[in-house]
C-alpha cells in the first residue's frame, strides 16, 4: 500500500474539492467539503480498498491524511 494511492483514493470521495488540495499534509477536517457523509465515505473506502475497519473515533484522532494512512497501516 502506497501513500500516494491512499491520497488518490481519499480524494476520490470528494466531488467539489480540487484534487491539488490533497497531499500527505492535508488536514482533512478543515476541508470545506468534510462532513459526516464524506467521513462515512472514507470509512467505506478504507474497508473496500484496504479491508481495514476504522471507526469514527479513529477519524477524529487523525489530523492529516498521512496520519490516517499510518493508522490504517497499523491495523
Amino acid at each position: 500500500m502506497e501513500l500516494n494511492d491512499f491520497i488518490k483514493n481519499f480524494a476520490g470521495q470528494f466531488d467539489e474539492t480540487p484534487v491539488e488540495l490533497f497531499s500527505s499534509k492535508t488536514i482533512f477536517k478543515e476541508l470545506e467539503e468534510w462532513n459526516s457523509l464524506t467521513a462515512l465515505s472514507i470509512i467505506a473506502m478504507i474497508d473496500e480498498e484496504y479491508e481495514k475497519t476504522i471507526t469514527g473515533a479513529n477519524l477524529r484522532s487523525s489530523s492529516t491524511i498521512e496520519e490516517l494512512y499510518s493508522l490504517v497501516l497499523s491495523k
Binding site: 459526516s36 465515505s41 473506502m45 475497519t53 471507526t55 469514527g56 477524529r60
Partner: protein, 253 residues
C-alpha cells in the same frame, strides 16, 4: 380479570428472539400468558432468552433463517400457531457508491426474503390457525423516511410494508390478520456497527433531539404494540402499520 389484551392459550412464534426487539417481544408475550416458540441463530443467546420467559410451555428452535433448509425445519417443528412475530433483522450502513451484489443479498436475505418465505411455508403447511395474527417488524426507515447510508435497509423494510398489505388480503378469507409495526430508533445491538462508525456523542445525540418525546425507543415500547396486534383486542385490524416512533415522523424530516 377483564383483559382484552391477554394472550392466554395462544401459541406464538417469535423470530430473532436471541436479542433486541425479538427477545423483548418473546418475554412480554410470555408475561401475557402465551406459549412462545423462540427461534434465532445463536444457541447460547437463545437459551438466555428462553430462561427469561415467564411460565412454562415454551419451546426454542435454533435456525438460521437466511438458509431455506433451516426455514423448512423450523416450520416442520412448529406446532399450530395463533401468532407469529417476524423480528429477525440486520442493519447496515452503506453509501450508494459502495453497494455490491453481496451486500444487497445479505441484507435482503435476512430482512425481507426470510420472513416472506417463512410466512409462505407456514401458510402452505397449514400451521397458522383461523383467527391468528401475523406481525412484521418493519421500520419508519423505508416507510416514512430514511437516513444517510440507510438506502438498503430502507429498501428491505419498505418491501415488507408492501408485502404485509398484499398478504393481509390473501389471508383475510382464512381469518388470519397481518399487520406491521414501524418503530423509530430502538438502540439494541443491531446498531453496534453504526455506533462504531460514528460515535454516540455525535450522531446519536443529534438524532435523539429529533424525537419529540425526548428519547429513543425501548424494546418494550415495541413489544407492547406487538401484544396489541397479537391479541383479540385487534381482531378487526389487518393490513395496518402501527407507528411507534416517539413522534419522530411528525417533524417531517
Amino acid at each position: 380479570m377483564y383483559n382484552p389484551f391477554s394472550l392466554k392459550g395462544k401459541t406464538i412464534l417469535v423470530t430473532g428472539a436471541s436479542s433486541g426487539l425479538g427477545q423483548s417481544i418473546a418475554i412480554e408475550a410470555s408475561k401475557m400468558g402465551a406459549s412462545i416458540i423462540i427461534t434465532g441463530r445463536n444457541h447460547v443467546h437463545l437459551q438466555q432468552t428462553y430462561n427469561m420467559l415467564e411460565g412454562d410451555n415454551h419451546q426454542k428452535i435454533v435456525a438460521d433463517l437466511a438458509n431455506i433448509d433451516d426455514i423448512k425445519l423450523l416450520v416442520e417443528q412448529c406446532p399450530l400457531l395463533d401468532g407469529c412475530v417476524n423480528c429477525a433483522g440486520i442493519a447496515k450502513l452503506i453509501l450508494i457508491q459502495f453497494i455490491k451484489k453481496e451486500s444487497v443479498e445479505d441484507i435482503f436475505n435476512i430482512n425481507t426474503f426470510a420472513p416472506i418465505l417463512l410466512t409462505s411455508l407456514l401458510v402452505k403447511k397449514k400451521k397458522i390457525k383461523h383467527g391468528a395474527s401475523i406481525v412484521f417488524i418493519s421500520a419508519v426507515s423505508g416507510v416514512y423516511m430514511s437516513s444517510v447510508g440507510e438506502s438498503l435497509y430502507s429498501a428491505t423494510k419498505g418491501a415488507l410494508h408492501g408485502f404485509v398489505k398484499g398478504i393481509a388480503l390473501d389471508l383475510a378469507p382464512k381469518g388470519i390478520r397481518v399487520n406491521s409495526i414501524t418503530p423509530g430508533l430502538v438502540p439494541t445491538n443491531i446498531l453496534n456497527e453504526a455506533k462504531e462508525m460514528f460515535s454516540e456523542d455525535d450522531i446519536f445525540e443529534r438524532r435523539k433531539k429529533q424525537y419529540p418525546l425526548g428519547r429513543f425507543g425501548n424494546p418494550e415500547d415495541i413489544a407492547f404494540g406487538s401484544i396489541y396486534l397479537l391479541s383479540d383486542a385487534s381482531k378487526w385490524v389487518t393490513g395496518s402499520a402501527l407507528l411507534i416512533d416517539g413522534g419522530l415522523t411528525l417533524n417531517g424530516i
